[in-house]
Symmetry: C2
Subunit: 146 residues, 2 copies
DNA sequence: AATAGAAGTAACCGTTGAAATTACAACAGA
DNA sequence: TCTGTTGTAATTTCAACGGTTACTTCTATT
């Protein structure tokens, strides 16, 4: 099972905004063309990023602005914004194990902190990468293109 | 998006085998009852664990045997066995970004190693927990039950 | 004030994967 | 041979994702 592409699409969006935002406006149509998807898909993801307080969106005229310095927006922030439901854990249990079975009634409690630790390890690594890292990496790649 | 319950179900199976395996045989029907699901679901997961070389299954008579010491079976082994497809990464990209867009043609390459590092952080943490840990933890919980 | 460009959003579709279920074939031990 | 159990195919239901159309709302510009 894979994490939905909304996450990588959101990072793609940030990269476009950082790279092109100064020269011309970055609209959902433009982004959809770069990513090769539908503008509505983009708008839905933009809506999630906005709802999470990561960007502001200018209506009518178009244009996307991060609300804080790029170095303060981590991959984790983006992930949480587009790819998680309130209180949803990464792992999930089969519902209603048999309480009459000793294992059944204890397994949830036994696994919980271990699974949380695994999820936390992933999220901590995510916190180690910022949109600024992404921006600099992209600049470096583009400089190499000739 | 969540990782499928096959992972926690597989851990539940191991816990049952460890806890009850000496006293009576642990069949797919018994496991299905403890987990509260269908025996066929169990058999399919058992098939994956067997295919991965983690257990052996006695046909006809029933009975599940781990193929190596419990301390040498990690959560990662179980996860890989039941919840991943050959060469499938945890994250995935939207297919075919626009090669005419500078960001579109570089984003994949730019993100790849970062996403791999995040996935690896999760998997490394998974390697830190073994079926033996699980077994001991369950014994401890059961001892506390009175 | 009217217009044009763009975001917001509802409604619907097709595809995919998970979980569940039924049914039956294959196998091993008594 | 009979019985219990695994192996597996076929089917169903459901939810989520990605895609698409169509329309409304908003804002800058003319």
């Amino acid at each position: 099972m894979q994490i939905s592409s909304r996450f990588t699409v959101a990072l793609h969006i940030f990269s476009c905004v950082d790279t092109f935002g100064d020269e011309h406006k970055v609209t959902s149509d433009f982004l959809a063309s770069s990513i090769n998807t539908n503008p509505v898909i983009i708008r839905r993801i933009l809506g999630q990023l906005k709802k999470a307080g990561l960007i502001e969106i200018a209506r009518g005229t178009g244009g996307i602005t991060p609300t804080r310095p790029l170095s303060e927006i981590t991959f984790y922030d983006v992930y949480k914004a587009v790819d998680s439901i309130e209180d949803e854990k990464l792992f999930h249990f089969h519902e209603n194990p048999n309480p009459e079975c000793p294992v059944g009634r204890n397994i949830h409690n036994l696994l919980n902190d271990k699974l949380d630790a695994i999820q936390k390890a992933m999220e901590d690594e995510m916190r180690g990468y910022t949109i600024e890292d992404l921006h600099k990496g992209m600049e470096s790649l583009l400089a190499k293109e000739t």
